[in-house]
Subunit: 411 residues, 2 copies
């Protein structure tokens, strides 16, 4: 007898038949005596349909009204999901974010959850009901409808699990767990039984798009056991755990993440004076461009080369801004490259193991892959390279760190 | 400087372009200095789309969840309408029924409004905003979403106007007012400048489907001036007024209503004992069949003939029930006719004018139309006839009571 919060994304509830399949799944858990809170996204395609309506109406839609509009997507799903559960003879009650209520700040379209009043949900569970909650949405203190931004349904699931002190928050997706790397790139990629929150955060932010980063942060902060599993196949999925210090058997590296949506910009020959970094990056962030890696080299003639990476979509805009800045700073020139990719090795084990980075660089050198930038954190090492080497790099690292099913045999 | 509540139905907000056209209309009123509260239906087709989804899911959809589902329709419209108004430079704020809040009883799918808290709306109006409220929906005292049933947006409009003490509730539809009869049947049918609530009630319940009956009752009860006008054309529409006793110049007859969805059932030779009417009609109303006209004749041999009309859709079901009842009551036989129609003359003026019914019967007799049933109220006379005579009857009555543009000349 456990309490599970189960989150089903847009693909899992994309059609009437799929909603019915989810209801069958929920019924199995109920039949085993578990208490179930279901949180759902909008049916796949619905959010895009609504966004299209809004953009026909306004070039820049009013954020408040956009939230009123978008929140209808999950509201449709909770009603249909409740009907499907009722059809199977289950007691059920649905709630919108406002009804629960899921209290958020008032930042429309990317609100943050501040509090959840679980009294109604708790009473319904005690009454034997399955509770169905609209994901992605809440209301601010004045009752205005808010949304949490794309992927926010994961956050709703985790926040509900935290507030209800659930035994597990189960995120049902179209993949059956977290893999050592993308199985489309490395055939021998393996599903991980467990991964720590910190590793998952690094994996997620580096492009393994299974979970919304904020939901993982949230789960880590409130110590909610989080499990990623498939809506369509049976299986245990991957459990995302709080790191256990005693567990010395942890592998050094848990996975290889990568990201090809990167672009690199360099200002060459900037006078090396205090505050030059903020002079360069200030205008970039004012334009709402997110900067990822930052690198500064001291050159010989009291000038410096300053390099950073941005999302590839922001490359042209960042290049323009940087060209203006470089004239102001009397820099020598601006260089750009939008054909780069980032590959990272991630693992909490590397904290206690020296030489992990060296092993990575060796493996890449063996393949004659030139490393353009390096960035490290406690549990990851990222390198930037020409995009054309991406697959080769991922495969050789996956093999070097023996992550695959057959690697240990083949070596 | 007046306060208007304006209701726009599904056809008026059926496309992005139409919503924009409504916004332009609202802006004109704002530019003249009026305060405007807009209430809207779901975009035409949307409610049917949602109902189709629900009926794919459940044969008899859960009423509570049906309301959660259907209420998204108007929520989409308020968001889009608000965006359109904002585009024109107006300040605007949208509210769902729950947000206002429009408090209803807990009868899902046909809830009744109990109270409206206008504090937020009043504050927004004072702040110079146009307020856009979702029609058709509210919330019960526990915060469950409710809907008012089809056509309920009219009721929302009237209830808002009553609560806000608005100067007028304007119902925008696809017709430009209330006519003396259906212009498709009588070419010379005329738009009425004014009609009383009572007349409108009789016209509405008799098949002039411009306004939901409940909204007219509501408007009469709270003395809200109600105006029906076109979303698509300019014009004053028809004002539905509180009857003014001093206005002795009222025409005797305001309009001719008709209804072809009728069916007639007769039990012949029922023993004429006390309580026979309730024995016959009890089982009918238990089957949720609404009975319209009722007629009882005393026959010679201490038996009676009992006739009533029902909606044509209910004819078969009513016939079955009646056959069983007639066996129990040892009646002679049951007769039915589902090819009948009802035609009514309506007007507050007939109260003070004798001979109106006679004039009606004469006009019908002149055309050799046989009257099967007669029913009268203070302000209307209804007759049932074979359906084939419907158009002829309406035209001859329209002419006899000089309701048309050319009638006074042609006569």
């Amino acid at each position: 007898m456990a309490l599970y919060v189960q989150k089903y994304g847009g693909t899992s509830v994309g059609t009437i038949e799929r909603i019915q399949a989810v209801a069958e799944k929920v019924k199995k858990f109920r039949d085993q005596g578990h208490e179930i809170v279901v949180t759902v996204s909008a049916m796949s395609g619905e959010t895009n349909r609504l966004i299209a309506l809004a953009s026909e109406m306004q070039d820049v839609p009013s954020p408040r009204e956009m939230d009123v509009l978008l929140s209808t997507g999950e509201q449709v799903t909770i009603a249909l999901m409740s009907m499907a559960l009722e059809n199977l003879g289950l007691k059920v009650k649905s709630y919108t974010g406002s009804q629960v209520r899921i209290l958020t700040d008032n930042v429309h379209m990317k609100a943050r959850i501040e509090d959840i009043d679980v009294a109604k949900i708790r009473a319904d569970l005690d009454d034997g009901s399955v509770v169905v909650v609209a994901g992605f949405q809440g209301a601010d203190k004045d009752g205005n409808i808010t949304t949490l931004g794309r992927g926010g349904s994961d956050t709703t699931g985790v926040a509900l699990a935290a507030a209800l002190k659930a035994d597990e928050c189960q995120i049902y997706t179209d993949v059956d767990g977290v893999y050592t790397t993308d199985p489309r790139v490395v055939e021998g990629a393996q599903r991980l039984e467990e991964i720590t929150f910190e590793e998952m955060l690094e994996m997620a932010s580096l492009g393994s798009k299974i979970l919304q980063i904020r939901s993982v942060e949230f789960a880590g902060k409130y110590k909610v056991p989080l499990r990623v599993l498939s809506s369509f196949e049976e299986g245990p999925g991957t459990l995302i755990t709080i790191e256990d210090d005693e567990n010395v058997e942890k592998p050094v590296i848990s996975g290889i993440a990568f990201n090809r949506d990167e672009a690199k910009l360099t200002v060459m020959g900037v006078p090396d004076i205090p505050g030059v970094a903020s002079k360069i990056l200030g205008p970039i962030s004012e334009a709402n461009i997110e900067v990822d890696m930052i690198l500064q080299n001291i050159a010989e003639d009291q000038t410096t080369d300053f390099t950073f990476t941005v999302h590839r979509n922001d490359f042209d805009k960042a290049h323009q801004i940087l060209t203006r800045t470089s004239q102001l700073l009397k820099a020598r020139e601006v260089k750009g490259d939008n054909k780069i990719a980032k590959v990272s090795i991630v693992g909490v084990g590397m904290r206690s193991h020296a030489g992990v980075a060296t092993k990575m660089f060796d493996a890449l050198a063996d393949e004659n892959i030139n490393i353009q930038m390096i960035s490290t954190s406690e549990i990851k090492v990222s390198v930037v390279m020409a995009e054309k080497y991406l697959e080769l790099a991922v495969r050789s690292l996956h093999s070097a760190f023996e992550l695959g099913r057959n690697d240990s045999i083949s070596e």
